[in-house]
Symmetry: C2
């Protein structure tokens, strides 16, 4: 099992250290996006800053993407697609449940094209739907 995780990291040009293997393993087990604090609690005797840097490195290398769901804390989730270092291709909708406060990716739901007024150039789109998820209904 650990070998698979290691392969994922090396394929993304990330040095597979013990800490990073733990972080990736934890991410793989999640069904929703998690915050740095969640990660810290899940991998208890670990340093928050180290985890923070692991996530940043993963994001930089195109392994995870970060989501600002308005909860105050940035959430992170594994990329589904073939994201490359520096360029994320996962323009999908994110859903934030107002009840359980979990953020999930809806990769099937692509972000519709938004036509802006003249002179505006789109570089990035952030679409967060908030409401009640299927587990909390």
């Amino acid at each position: 099992m650990t070998e698979n995780i290691e392969v994922i990291l090396t394929q993304k040009n990330i040095n597979p250290t013990a800490m990073r293997l733990l972080v990736l393993d934890f991410l793989l087990k999640q069904s929703s996006a998690i915050s740095l604090t969640d990660l810290e609690k899940g991998l208890d005797p670990s340093d928050r800053i180290t985890l923070y840097r692991a996530l940043k490195k993963f994001e930089e290398k195109g392994l995870v993407h970060s989501i600002d769901d308005g909860s105050g804390a940035t959430k992170y989730a594994l990329c589904e697609n073939d994201c490359e270092a520096g360029h994320h291709h996962d323009l999908h909708v994110h859903f934030f449940c107002n009840t359980c406060r979990e953020t999930s990716c809806l990769p099937k739901h692509h972000i519709p094209q938004i036509s802006l007024p003249d002179g505006f150039k789109t570089e990035e789109v952030n679409l967060i739907v908030k409401g009640i998820c299927n587990k909390c209904i």
Copy 2:
């Protein structure tokens, strides 16, 4: 002039205090959404907390809406539509310029309908487009 501002407040059931008149006056002069820090700088010798509470009261009464553009600071802008206390009807797109870091409302651009998977209930949608605005191109 001050009378007009006062009328706006009383129509929204907000006690027109000197501070609130100042805040509303400042908001009316803006062409883009502003943060609490912007407001504090614009109304210099004012207490940040008081301004914060003025904005919160305005939001509660349906006079302004708050925007989380991912910049870290919540932005505020006057509602265009007939928002009521507690219920905001201004589901429009917001644009964040990566260059000048200004956030503007695009009230003409309504948020498209997002069909969620079964069991998900939408309560709110937050759509932020990031890029270069017409002034920075």
